[in-house]
């Protein structure tokens, strides 16, 4: 019988698990709550216990698995298989994640950064069509990403490769970013960034708009509210979406002028706006991309949703498949 892969997507609120075939089909998936109490010391034991429980339930043993892969927040050491500084897990100190999981489960283990892992997932069985050159941008609470070039995930010299959210798109008068710089893509294209941009544009917008009124009133407005209003014909909201499209078109064109990937895949919560957002990005991408790049690099919306994490994590374990 062909072996299976196990993918783990570790997040601040839940840990998602998937059992996959070697060609990336999800056979089983489940999730547990992330218990970040007591410096997150329960997280790894909880993961191990959950896997043991499920393997028993499904009548599987460690011999049925080629390997386990995990995506994690924080700074991941892929060689030591450790995680440091994952503050949403209360993991300030270095965690020996790989050593613990390999010792308890007897299955080879690999780990990488969560945004990189989601990129691998979308590239493998999602919108990336398993192409060797794919860029993934995730628009959520922050803006992250992963770069696959010539078949390799690009980590760079210090592991900061793929910091797409920190591409500077407004060098002169940008918003302050949490990273300490100004004008980063994240400040205008994350969920909060879209609203921040709306607040700026509201200052000079004249004309009726329920979204502008809500922003000016100090009401709670989400990026989803902005996209919904724009799609329903609110001209102010539409101007905000247009500007988000400008920034994302500029950033994806510049990434593509450097790497000429087969596709730039846009995922994360904000990408739920789908074609409405994609077409705006595409318009500006076409304006800013080099002629050969315009013709060859595609802008796509992600296809895997939340499963990108477990699928990409499982793909990390493909290195353990014995020919």
């Amino acid at each position: 019988m062909s072996k299976k892969l196990l993918g783990i997507d570790l997040g601040g609120t839940s840990v998602k698990f998937g059992i996959l075939t070697l060609d990336g089909q999800v056979q089983e998936k489940w999730a547990i709550e992330t218990n970040i109490l007591e410096d997150g010391k329960h997280i790894v034991p909880d993961i191990i216990a959950s896997i043991k429980h499920r393997l028993e339930l499904y009548g599987l043993s460690n011999d049925d698995f080629a390997g386990i892969g995990m995506g994690s927040p924080g700074a991941v050491d892929r060689t030591q298989k450790t995680v440091t500084g994952a503050f949403n897990l209360n993991w300030a100190e270095t965690q020996e994640v790989g050593a613990a999981i390999e010792a308890e489960l007897g299955i080879p283990f690999a780990i990488d950064n969560d945004a990189n892992v989601a990129a691998l997932g979308e590239r493998w069985v999602g919108a990336g069509d398993n192409n060797p050159d794919v860029v993934f941008v995730t628009l959520g609470t922050g803006v992250g990403g992963g770069i696959i070039a010539d078949g390799s995930l690009i980590h760079g010299v210090a592991g900061a490769g793929g910091e797409i959210g920190h591409i500077i798109v407004e060098p002169e008068e940008g918003f302050d970013c949490t990273c300490g710089n100004k004008g980063c893509l994240e400040t205008v294209a994350s969920a909060t960034g879209v609203v921040r941009l709306g607040r700026l544009l509201a200052e000079n917008y004249e004309g009726p708009s329920a979204i502008k009124a809500a922003i000016d009133n100090g009401d709670s407005v989400t990026s989803k509210d902005v996209f919904t209003a724009a799609a329903a014909g609110d001209k102010f909201a539409d101007s905000v979406v247009e500007k988000v499209g400008f920034y994302l078109g500029l950033a994806t064109a510049n990434i593509s002028n450097i790497l000429n990937p087969d596709s730039v895949i846009v995922g994360g919560g904000v990408s739920a706006a789908g074609e409405f957002l994609r077409s705006r990005i595409e318009n500006y991408f076409q304006k800013f991309a080099f002629p050969q790049v315009k013709k060859s690099t595609k802008i796509k919306i992600a296809e895997l949703g939340n499963d990108a994490g477990i699928i990409g994590a499982a793909s990390l374990a493909r290195q353990f498949i014995e020919e």
Copy 2:
């Protein structure tokens, strides 16, 4: 006896040749004029004749070589080993460069784009310290480059990877670029771009400046003149260099936020300004790079000068070394 590598740097005015050791030391080098007459049909025969002549002169035979590598302008098909559309060679039609050279010399042959090849050279034995993640930017008549990420030269899906000159640095009011877009890095950081930027800044500069006076008079001013004047204390020229540094700092920071290379190496004629230019780029790079990237990616000036081409070309032939 250990085998050797032969590197060929094909350009519009000359063809440069180098015989190198397997670890990248240049043992012999020579050059011939590029004869672009009659649709450039003499170029490949001239290259073959020159190599045959030199091998005889040095008492070497095809058995002494692991392989030949070449860097060429135009659109290179690495698999077919052909070149198309190299207009400065009068090669509009596809040229069977590899087939001709392999048939006549009996040595395995590899070919890539000239900017990519120069990147490989600087990475191998120049400023790149043979690191797996290196970006090369060449500032000359145009602005080109090459990206080496995770040890691979990045070509992208249609071979347009590394079009660093066409990163957009002025999305709103940039100069027209030969590529058809506006605001490309090449429009402000190539040799002509520096002068074009000077002409724009001269419109609003008040104060004494020999360079501004020359520009306003319509005299012939080169980028070298601008750098020389700036270094000698001309405040207007200094403001031009500062702005060039801003654009190059922005572009190199954004490349590095995406790829986190060990170094971004700046070469080409404009880089002759050396540390005077590098330090300006570095200042803006520090402003625009993500914190981890600031600390780990270095901005360097190229070390190999004109030899980058033959050395990088020779490095393409390392794939033929038998273990």
